[in-house]
Protein backbone atom coordinates (compact mmCIF):
# COMPACT_ATOMS: atom_id res chain seq x y z
CA UNK A 1 0.00 0.00 0.00
CA UNK A 2 1.11 3.57 -0.69
CA UNK A 3 -0.14 6.79 0.75
CA UNK A 4 -1.51 9.74 -1.23
CA UNK A 5 -3.39 12.83 -0.15
CA UNK A 6 -6.94 13.42 -1.29
CA UNK A 7 -8.37 16.85 -0.52
CA UNK A 8 -5.74 17.28 2.19
CA UNK A 9 -6.32 13.91 3.88
CA UNK A 10 -4.05 10.89 3.76
CA UNK A 11 -5.41 7.84 1.95
CA UNK A 12 -3.90 4.41 1.45
CA UNK A 13 -4.14 3.07 -2.09
CA UNK A 14 -2.48 0.54 -4.32
CA UNK A 15 -0.45 3.03 -6.32
CA UNK A 16 -0.17 3.61 -9.17
CA UNK A 17 -3.93 3.86 -9.52
CA UNK A 18 -5.87 5.21 -12.48
CA UNK A 19 -7.46 8.53 -11.61
CA UNK A 20 -10.87 7.24 -12.66
CA UNK A 21 -10.55 4.41 -10.13
CA UNK A 22 -9.57 6.84 -7.39
CA UNK A 23 -12.62 8.93 -8.29
CA UNK A 24 -14.80 5.82 -7.96
CA UNK A 25 -13.13 4.75 -4.71
CA UNK A 26 -13.90 8.18 -3.24
CA UNK A 27 -17.56 7.97 -4.27
CA UNK A 28 -17.29 11.28 -6.09
CA UNK A 29 -20.78 12.40 -6.96
CA UNK A 30 -21.10 13.10 -10.68
CA UNK A 31 -17.52 12.28 -11.79
CA UNK A 32 -18.25 14.00 -15.10
CA UNK A 33 -18.65 17.30 -13.20
CA UNK A 34 -15.55 17.24 -10.99
CA UNK A 35 -12.37 19.22 -11.68
CA UNK A 36 -9.24 17.37 -10.58
CA UNK A 37 -5.81 18.67 -9.70
CA UNK A 38 -2.87 16.34 -9.09
CA UNK A 39 0.17 18.00 -7.48
CA UNK A 40 -1.25 21.39 -8.41
CA UNK A 41 -1.77 20.60 -12.10
CA UNK A 42 -5.20 20.14 -13.65
CA UNK A 43 -5.93 16.83 -15.32
CA UNK A 44 -8.24 17.11 -18.32
CA UNK A 45 -11.47 15.15 -17.99
CA UNK A 46 -10.59 13.22 -21.16
CA UNK A 47 -7.51 11.85 -19.36
CA UNK A 48 -9.23 10.58 -16.19
CA UNK A 49 -9.06 6.93 -17.32
CA UNK A 50 -5.41 7.00 -18.44
CA UNK A 51 -3.87 9.31 -15.82
CA UNK A 52 -2.03 7.40 -13.10
CA UNK A 53 -1.85 8.65 -9.51
CA UNK A 54 1.43 7.68 -7.83
CA UNK A 55 2.56 7.28 -4.25
CA UNK A 56 2.84 10.62 -2.38
CA UNK A 57 0.71 12.46 -4.97
CA UNK A 58 -1.64 15.17 -3.76
CA UNK A 59 -5.05 15.00 -5.38
CA UNK A 60 -7.75 17.66 -5.10
CA UNK A 61 -11.34 17.16 -6.21
CA UNK A 62 -12.99 20.53 -6.90
CA UNK A 63 -16.73 20.76 -7.27
CA UNK A 64 -19.16 23.18 -8.89
CA UNK A 65 -21.03 25.18 -6.29
CA UNK A 66 -23.85 27.60 -7.03
CA UNK A 67 -25.64 29.38 -4.24
CA UNK A 68 -26.73 32.97 -3.80
CA UNK A 69 -29.49 34.52 -5.80
CA UNK A 70 -31.10 33.79 -9.13
CA UNK A 71 -29.90 36.63 -11.28
Amino acid sequence: MSTIQVNGKVQEVNAPIALIDLIKANNVEQPEMVSVQVNGEFVGRENFSTFLVNSEDEVDFLYFMGGGSRC
Binding site: S35, Y63, M65, G67, G68, S69, C71
Partner: protein, 269 residues
Protein backbone atom coordinates in the same frame (compact mmCIF):
# COMPACT_ATOMS: atom_id res chain seq x y z
CA UNK B 1 -12.27 63.55 1.31
CA UNK B 2 -13.02 65.35 4.56
CA UNK B 3 -14.92 63.23 7.02
CA UNK B 4 -17.48 64.86 9.30
CA UNK B 5 -17.24 64.31 13.03
CA UNK B 6 -20.11 61.81 12.79
CA UNK B 7 -18.33 59.89 10.06
CA UNK B 8 -15.11 59.76 12.07
CA UNK B 9 -17.17 58.41 14.94
CA UNK B 10 -19.06 55.95 12.74
CA UNK B 11 -15.89 54.55 11.17
CA UNK B 12 -13.71 54.89 14.28
CA UNK B 13 -13.14 51.13 14.62
CA UNK B 14 -11.72 51.08 11.11
CA UNK B 15 -9.76 54.27 11.57
CA UNK B 16 -8.01 53.02 14.70
CA UNK B 17 -6.89 49.90 12.84
CA UNK B 18 -3.25 50.54 12.06
CA UNK B 19 -3.53 48.98 8.61
CA UNK B 20 -6.59 51.03 7.66
CA UNK B 21 -6.56 54.46 9.29
CA UNK B 22 -8.19 57.57 7.82
CA UNK B 23 -6.45 56.88 4.53
CA UNK B 24 -7.90 53.38 4.27
CA UNK B 25 -11.34 54.58 5.25
CA UNK B 26 -11.11 57.18 2.48
CA UNK B 27 -10.34 54.40 0.01
CA UNK B 28 -13.38 52.49 1.27
CA UNK B 29 -15.54 55.61 1.02
CA UNK B 30 -14.36 56.23 -2.55
CA UNK B 31 -14.95 52.57 -3.52
CA UNK B 32 -17.53 51.48 -6.05
CA UNK B 33 -18.66 47.87 -5.73
CA UNK B 34 -21.20 45.95 -7.81
CA UNK B 35 -23.04 43.07 -6.17
CA UNK B 36 -24.60 40.63 -8.63
CA UNK B 37 -27.55 39.02 -6.87
CA UNK B 38 -29.27 40.36 -3.77
CA UNK B 39 -29.73 36.90 -2.28
CA UNK B 40 -28.02 34.67 0.25
CA UNK B 41 -24.50 35.89 -0.56
CA UNK B 42 -25.37 39.39 -1.75
CA UNK B 43 -27.26 40.13 1.50
CA UNK B 44 -24.34 39.90 3.93
CA UNK B 45 -21.99 41.43 1.37
CA UNK B 46 -24.29 44.43 0.94
CA UNK B 47 -24.84 44.87 4.68
CA UNK B 48 -21.16 44.71 5.62
CA UNK B 49 -20.06 46.94 2.74
CA UNK B 50 -22.78 49.45 3.66
CA UNK B 51 -21.73 49.37 7.30
CA UNK B 52 -18.10 49.84 6.22
CA UNK B 53 -19.09 52.95 4.28
CA UNK B 54 -18.33 51.83 0.72
CA UNK B 55 -19.20 54.95 -1.26
CA UNK B 56 -21.17 53.40 -4.09
CA UNK B 57 -22.88 50.03 -4.04
CA UNK B 58 -24.54 48.77 -7.22
CA UNK B 59 -26.98 45.88 -6.91
CA UNK B 60 -28.33 43.90 -9.83
CA UNK B 61 -31.14 41.39 -9.38
CA UNK B 62 -34.29 40.88 -11.41
CA UNK B 63 -36.16 38.96 -8.73
CA UNK B 64 -38.70 39.76 -6.03
CA UNK B 65 -38.43 38.62 -2.40
CA UNK B 66 -40.02 35.22 -1.73
CA UNK B 67 -40.93 33.93 1.72
CA UNK B 68 -38.46 31.05 1.24
CA UNK B 69 -35.61 33.57 0.78
CA UNK B 70 -35.86 34.89 4.35
CA UNK B 71 -34.21 31.80 5.89
CA UNK B 72 -30.83 33.14 4.68
CA UNK B 73 -31.18 36.42 2.75
CA UNK B 74 -30.89 38.59 5.84
CA UNK B 75 -31.22 41.94 4.07
CA UNK B 76 -34.88 41.17 3.30
CA UNK B 77 -37.60 41.17 5.98
CA UNK B 78 -41.04 39.57 6.16
CA UNK B 79 -42.75 42.79 5.07
CA UNK B 80 -40.62 42.77 1.90
CA UNK B 81 -42.16 39.61 0.42
CA UNK B 82 -43.08 40.30 -3.24
CA UNK B 83 -41.00 43.50 -3.25
CA UNK B 84 -38.18 43.84 -5.78
CA UNK B 85 -35.02 42.54 -4.11
CA UNK B 86 -32.95 45.50 -5.29
CA UNK B 87 -35.45 47.92 -3.75
CA UNK B 88 -35.64 45.98 -0.48
CA UNK B 89 -31.84 45.90 -0.30
CA UNK B 90 -31.51 49.58 -1.11
CA UNK B 91 -33.92 50.51 1.70
CA UNK B 92 -31.92 48.55 4.31
CA UNK B 93 -28.60 49.94 3.10
CA UNK B 94 -29.94 53.49 3.30
CA UNK B 95 -31.24 52.87 6.81
CA UNK B 96 -27.96 51.36 7.90
CA UNK B 97 -25.74 54.01 6.35
CA UNK B 98 -27.04 57.10 4.52
CA UNK B 99 -23.47 57.83 3.32
CA UNK B 100 -23.78 55.04 0.76
CA UNK B 101 -25.01 55.79 -2.74
CA UNK B 102 -27.00 52.79 -3.95
CA UNK B 103 -27.53 52.16 -7.66
CA UNK B 104 -30.10 49.48 -8.47
CA UNK B 105 -30.55 47.43 -11.61
CA UNK B 106 -33.79 45.47 -11.56
CA UNK B 107 -32.81 43.19 -14.38
CA UNK B 108 -30.72 40.13 -15.15
CA UNK B 109 -27.04 40.34 -15.96
CA UNK B 110 -26.68 39.24 -19.59
CA UNK B 111 -24.04 39.11 -22.29
CA UNK B 112 -25.65 42.23 -23.73
CA UNK B 113 -25.48 44.45 -20.62
CA UNK B 114 -22.64 42.97 -18.51
CA UNK B 115 -19.68 45.02 -19.72
CA UNK B 116 -21.67 48.22 -19.74
CA UNK B 117 -22.78 47.70 -16.12
CA UNK B 118 -19.48 46.51 -14.61
CA UNK B 119 -17.32 49.16 -16.28
CA UNK B 120 -18.30 51.76 -13.67
CA UNK B 121 -17.18 49.65 -10.69
CA UNK B 122 -13.88 48.92 -8.95
CA UNK B 123 -14.81 45.43 -7.79
CA UNK B 124 -17.56 42.94 -8.64
CA UNK B 125 -19.08 40.38 -6.24
CA UNK B 126 -20.63 37.21 -7.63
CA UNK B 127 -23.60 36.41 -5.42
CA UNK B 128 -25.52 34.39 -7.99
CA UNK B 129 -26.79 30.83 -7.72
CA UNK B 130 -26.40 29.71 -11.30
CA UNK B 131 -23.50 28.77 -13.52
CA UNK B 132 -24.44 30.66 -16.70
CA UNK B 133 -24.16 33.96 -14.80
CA UNK B 134 -21.10 32.85 -12.79
CA UNK B 135 -19.26 32.20 -16.04
CA UNK B 136 -20.65 35.42 -17.53
CA UNK B 137 -19.32 37.44 -14.56
CA UNK B 138 -15.95 35.73 -14.87
CA UNK B 139 -15.64 36.32 -18.61
CA UNK B 140 -16.89 39.92 -18.43
CA UNK B 141 -14.49 40.76 -15.58
CA UNK B 142 -11.55 39.11 -17.36
CA UNK B 143 -12.36 41.01 -20.58
CA UNK B 144 -12.88 44.33 -18.78
CA UNK B 145 -9.86 43.83 -16.49
CA UNK B 146 -12.01 44.02 -13.33
CA UNK B 147 -11.32 42.15 -10.09
CA UNK B 148 -14.12 40.02 -8.66
CA UNK B 149 -14.98 37.55 -5.93
CA UNK B 150 -16.58 34.24 -6.85
CA UNK B 151 -18.75 32.63 -4.21
CA UNK B 152 -20.71 29.40 -4.15
CA UNK B 153 -22.70 27.60 -1.49
CA UNK B 154 -24.65 24.36 -1.42
CA UNK B 155 -26.07 22.31 1.42
CA UNK B 156 -23.32 22.56 4.10
CA UNK B 157 -20.47 23.61 1.81
CA UNK B 158 -19.08 26.85 0.49
CA UNK B 159 -16.27 27.96 -1.77
CA UNK B 160 -14.78 31.27 -2.84
CA UNK B 161 -11.88 32.64 -4.84
CA UNK B 162 -10.84 36.17 -5.68
CA UNK B 163 -9.84 36.87 -9.26
CA UNK B 164 -7.75 39.85 -10.32
CA UNK B 165 -6.28 40.48 -13.78
CA UNK B 166 -3.52 37.89 -14.28
CA UNK B 167 -4.52 35.51 -11.47
CA UNK B 168 -6.25 32.16 -11.98
CA UNK B 169 -9.83 32.83 -13.10
CA UNK B 170 -12.97 30.79 -12.41
CA UNK B 171 -12.70 29.28 -15.87
CA UNK B 172 -9.06 28.25 -15.25
CA UNK B 173 -10.44 25.97 -12.53
CA UNK B 174 -13.88 24.98 -13.81
CA UNK B 175 -13.45 25.34 -17.59
CA UNK B 176 -17.12 25.51 -18.67
CA UNK B 177 -20.58 25.55 -17.11
CA UNK B 178 -22.11 22.18 -16.28
CA UNK B 179 -25.08 21.20 -18.45
CA UNK B 180 -28.41 22.66 -17.23
CA UNK B 181 -29.74 20.74 -14.21
CA UNK B 182 -26.54 18.64 -13.87
CA UNK B 183 -25.52 20.39 -10.63
CA UNK B 184 -28.26 21.25 -8.17
CA UNK B 185 -28.88 24.81 -6.98
CA UNK B 186 -29.78 25.76 -3.42
CA UNK B 187 -33.43 25.92 -4.42
CA UNK B 188 -33.19 22.30 -5.56
CA UNK B 189 -30.86 20.78 -2.94
CA UNK B 190 -31.16 23.13 0.04
CA UNK B 191 -28.62 25.12 1.98
CA UNK B 192 -28.04 25.82 5.64
CA UNK B 193 -28.90 29.52 5.88
CA UNK B 194 -25.96 30.57 8.02
CA UNK B 195 -23.54 29.21 5.39
CA UNK B 196 -24.51 32.16 3.21
CA UNK B 197 -23.42 34.47 6.01
CA UNK B 198 -20.03 32.74 6.40
CA UNK B 199 -19.28 32.86 2.69
CA UNK B 200 -20.74 36.32 2.08
CA UNK B 201 -18.75 37.90 4.89
CA UNK B 202 -15.57 36.34 3.49
CA UNK B 203 -16.42 37.95 0.14
CA UNK B 204 -17.10 41.31 1.84
CA UNK B 205 -13.75 41.02 3.61
CA UNK B 206 -12.00 40.48 0.28
CA UNK B 207 -13.68 43.61 -1.10
CA UNK B 208 -12.47 45.68 1.85
CA UNK B 209 -8.98 44.22 1.55
CA UNK B 210 -8.93 45.07 -2.14
CA UNK B 211 -10.14 48.64 -1.60
CA UNK B 212 -7.69 49.33 1.24
CA UNK B 213 -4.80 47.28 -0.17
CA UNK B 214 -4.44 45.49 3.17
CA UNK B 215 -3.23 41.89 3.32
CA UNK B 216 -3.13 39.22 0.66
CA UNK B 217 -6.17 38.55 -1.47
CA UNK B 218 -7.58 35.07 -1.93
CA UNK B 219 -6.09 34.87 -5.40
CA UNK B 220 -4.72 31.64 -6.88
CA UNK B 221 -6.30 29.88 -3.91
CA UNK B 222 -9.76 28.34 -3.76
CA UNK B 223 -11.11 28.44 -0.23
CA UNK B 224 -13.55 25.67 0.58
CA UNK B 225 -15.32 24.85 3.81
CA UNK B 226 -17.71 22.28 5.14
CA UNK B 227 -19.92 23.36 8.00
CA UNK B 228 -20.51 19.82 9.29
CA UNK B 229 -16.85 19.45 10.21
CA UNK B 230 -16.15 23.20 10.19
CA UNK B 231 -13.01 22.48 8.24
CA UNK B 232 -11.63 25.22 6.00
CA UNK B 233 -9.09 24.49 3.25
CA UNK B 234 -7.35 26.64 0.71
CA UNK B 235 -6.34 24.81 -2.44
CA UNK B 236 -3.66 26.40 -4.55
CA UNK B 237 -4.75 26.84 -8.14
CA UNK B 238 -2.73 28.19 -11.04
CA UNK B 239 -3.46 30.47 -13.93
CA UNK B 240 -4.09 28.06 -16.80
CA UNK B 241 -2.23 29.05 -19.94
CA UNK B 242 -4.76 27.00 -21.91
CA UNK B 243 -7.74 28.78 -20.29
CA UNK B 244 -10.30 29.59 -22.96
CA UNK B 245 -10.83 33.15 -21.70
CA UNK B 246 -7.62 34.28 -19.94
CA UNK B 247 -5.08 31.87 -21.44
CA UNK B 248 -2.42 32.57 -24.04
CA UNK B 249 -4.77 31.95 -26.96
CA UNK B 250 -8.31 32.67 -25.74
CA UNK B 251 -11.08 31.14 -27.80
CA UNK B 252 -13.79 33.06 -25.96
CA UNK B 253 -13.65 36.64 -27.15
CA UNK B 254 -17.33 37.54 -26.78
CA UNK B 255 -19.66 37.08 -23.82
CA UNK B 256 -21.97 34.09 -23.86
CA UNK B 257 -25.49 33.66 -22.47
CA UNK B 258 -25.42 29.98 -21.52
CA UNK B 259 -28.64 28.03 -21.21
CA UNK B 260 -30.26 28.17 -17.77
CA UNK B 261 -31.58 25.16 -15.90
CA UNK B 262 -35.17 24.56 -16.97
CA UNK B 263 -36.61 24.86 -13.47
CA UNK B 264 -35.07 28.33 -13.21
CA UNK B 265 -36.65 29.37 -16.48
CA UNK B 266 -40.04 28.07 -15.43
CA UNK B 267 -39.93 29.93 -12.13
CA UNK B 268 -39.07 33.13 -14.00
CA UNK B 269 -42.37 33.14 -15.91
Amino acid sequence: MDFTEDQIHRYSRHIILQDVGVEGQEKISNGKVLIVGAGGLGAPVALYLAAAGVGTIGIIDGDVVDLSNLQRQVIHFTADVNKAKVLSAKEKINQLNPDVKVITYQELLTAANAIDIIKDYDFIVDGTDNFPVKFLINDACVMAGKPFSHGGILRFDGQTITVVPGSACYRCVFHAPPPPNAVPTCSQAGVLGAIAGILGTIQATEVLKYLTGVGELLTNRLLTFNAKTMEFRTIKVKHNHKCSVCGDHPTITELIDYEQATCELKSKQ
